[in-house]
């Protein structure tokens, strides 16, 4: 599903060259729940951003579902993100002025293959799934952190993306809410065969992953099957 070849990202900080990613090569299979782990500064988020088309690699290649994403124009990348990818961010990243329902259906509204009736229906279904249907008319600030993160997951899921990227989604949550979010990811992965790539630095999270890549200094130092 995703083929990553010799991926490098080098930042120039004055005279110093910082290698955030240094020749990462790996494949991610469809339906896989992949954990990217490592210490702070190891390159986890940089790799996730490259895979999610949020940043450009210095060199190397990423092929998603047969598309070499480095060849896409800016607009094509936006459309690729809209139609193929879903994101869950550490700080939920909901639009504060939109209700839960509006946040969830925002990107679905933009898709040419969705009618208003369809995206509303899908919004209701996904909100029921995450248990926040009753709070669909609330604003994000009226929800707890865990609830906001579940809305963020619902927003990512409503378009039924090929790949769901999650960047430390439990970093701002207590252990109970973290478990709830991870359970939700596992449920989505198992029931819908959803490919999930998640960055985390919490050791106990690895129980949820099918496979774990450990990064250190921008290189894969370990690639474990966790089935």
């Amino acid at each position: 599903m995703i083929r990553i070849s010799d991926l490098r990202k080098i930042y120039q900080m004055g005279d110093v060259e910082v290698r955030a990613l240094d020749g990462v090569t790996t494949d991610i299979a469809k339906g896989e729940f992949l954990g990217i782990m490592g210490a702070s500064g190891s390159g986890k988020t940089t790799l996730l951003h490259m895979l999610g088309l949020l940043d450009e690699p210095t060199s190397g290649q990423i092929v998603i579902e047969g598309t070499d994403v480095s060849q896409l124009t800016d607009h094509e990348k936006t459309m690729f993100r809209l139609y193929k990818l879903g994101y869950v961010f550490q700080d939920y990243a909901l639009v504060p002025d939109l209700t839960v329902m509006e946040n969830v259906t925002l990107t679905a509204m933009l898709r040419k293959d969705r009618t208003e009736e369809q995206y509303r229906k899908e919004g209701f279904i996904v909100l029921q799934k995450i248990g926040l249907f009753d709070r669909r008319d609330h604003l994000p600030r009226e929800l707890s952190g865990g609830q906001q993160q579940r809305v963020s997951i619902a927003r990512a899921m409503v378009n039924k993306p090929d790949i769901l990227f999650a960047d430390e989604p439990c970093a701002n949550l207590d252990s109970e809410n973290s478990r709830m979010v991870l359970d939700l990811f596992r449920e989505i992965n198992e029931e819908m065969q959803q490919t999930i790539v998640m960055v985390s630095h919490e050791e106990w999270h690895k129980n949820y992953f099918h496979r774990i890549i450990y990064l250190k200094d921008g290189k894969i130092v370990s690639d474990e099957d966790n089935h």
Binding site: H49, G52, L54, D55, D74, H75, T78, M79, R81, L82, Y83, L85, G86, Y87, F89, A93, V95, P96, D97, L98, E102, L106, T107, M109, L110, R111, K112, L139, R155, A156
Partner: protein, 404 residues
């Protein structure tokens, strides 16, 4: 940009205004409204002055068409024949002859030099609204002799001391009083003050009127000539039509429409007003553009991370740009509506409380076209001011936006 993208952009804009900072929205709308009021106030005021002067000149000096002596002549000769001819023309409501003579008015210890005008009261009533401007007593009658009507500033106010007067007067003449008039040719006669008028037009308010027959007494002859003739058009007839008709009928004197006269006398004044209007408009537009630019820039800077997130989840930069564009459009529409309401209220207020100077009285003069044009200018300015920062921020790359 498709319909769906515009719909999402509009939703984001609307929600941001509905659920964002209310005080910021109110403040912005008030600023736009103030800019609009500022844009419309000064030009309307100057237009009002221009209109007021134009109207007063037409009412008390020229009417629709002015017939005055051709070059080299002192008078419009054979006025009776000309009046009969003009009054018989299809578009003419009435022609009124005028004759003026310098005179010294004496009342108690006061002496005042003026130029008195002679009129035929019935004709003048059909040409000028002077008869409606009586503040005391009554207007001249056709057969009146030995009677005079005076402007209020000429009659004066007995409660104001001579040294406190804005302009010299007779110190408080009242209706029924007798004043002595000594004309430039030495003819002297006592006249009973029949009425006192006030027009608001400084030229008419610096004189008095007597009947044509009284002026014939002054000149000791039948007055066959007039100094000038004013001609009023019937409703539905243009002053240009009357002018052409007069020329076609062979009136040998100089025939001018009120517009011709105003163009000569007021042209430069109106041109100066137009320059002031343009400068005022330009300043108001610049203020609006700068204010909205700052507001939208602050909004976009504060929302950089959110913009990054929106782009990350697949919202196109055009949608993000139009989101801010729509916000500005909504704010501009609200500001313009409030501005129009304020301008109309100001218009009503000034209609009841006009600005009165020694020379003219005026209120605001604004037409629906003025309101529409200013609204359009402000609207375009607002869009430019809003879209510039929105365009800049929507093009920022996701990484730097998300790091903000």
């Amino acid at each position: 940009m498709g319909k769906k993208e515009l719909k999402v952009a509009f939703l984001l804009a609307l929600r941001s205004l509905q659920r964002g900072s209310k005080s910021s929205v109110i403040l912005t709308v008030i600023i736009i409204a103030m800019c609009f009021t500022n844009m419309i106030f000064l030009p309307s005021m100057l237009n009002g002055i221009g209109q007021s002067i134009t109207k007063q000149i037409m009412n008390y000096e020229t009417s629709d068409v002015l017939v005055d002596p051709k070059l080299g002549n002192q008078y419009v000769e054979d006025k009776d024949a000309k009046l009969a001819l003009i009054n018989g023309m299809s578009g003419v409501q009435r022609a009124s002859p005028h004759y003026s003579k310098a005179a010294t008015l004496k009342y108690r210890q006061r002496v005042l030099g003026v130029t008195l005008r002679a009129i035929t009261p019935k004709d003048e009533m059909l040409v000028s609204p002077l008869y409606t401007k009586m503040v005391a007593g009554s207007y001249l009658g056709e057969g009146d002799t030995g009677e005079i009507i005076l402007a209020k500033p000429v009659a004066g106010d007995p409660t104001i001391k001579r040294e406190d007067e804005f302009q010299p007067s007779l110190g408080g003449v009242r209706v029924g009083d007798s004043i002595t008039v000594e004309f430039a040719n030495g003819f002297t006669k006592d006249y009973r003050v029949k009425g006192i008028y006030f027009t608001g037009w400084y030229v008419a308010d610096a004189t008095g009127y007597i009947t044509w027959s009284d002026m014939e007494q002054v000149e000791a002859k039948t007055l066959e000539n007039a100094e000038y003739i004013t001609v009023k058009a019937k409703p539905g007839y243009s002053e240009k039509f009357i002018k052409n008709e007069l020329i076609q009928y062979g009136i040998p004197d100089r025939v001018q429409t009120s517009t011709d006269v105003l163009a000569k006398n007021m042209g430069r004044v109106l041109q100066s007003y137009a320059i002031i209007n343009v400068v005022s408009l330009f300043v108001s537009v610049i203020i609006t553009v700068v204010v909205l630019f700052i507001i939208i820039t602050i909004k976009t800077i504060n929302s950089r991370r959110q913009i990054g997130i929106l782009k990350a989840i697949g919202v196109d930069k055009e949608v993000i740009m139009h989101n801010y564009g729509f916000q500005v459009i909504i704010l501009a529409i609200m500001g313009i509506i409030l501005g129009i309401i304020l301008a109309l209220l100001l218009n009503v207020y000034m209609a009841y409380n006009p600005i009165v100077t020694a020379d003219w009285t005026t209120s605001l003069y604004m037409t629906p076209m003025d309101l529409a044009m200013n609204s359009l200018i402000l609207f375009i300015a607002a869009i430019v001011a809003g879209y510039l920062p929105a365009y800049q921020v929507s093009r920022e790359d996701i990484q730097s936006a998300m790091r903000a």
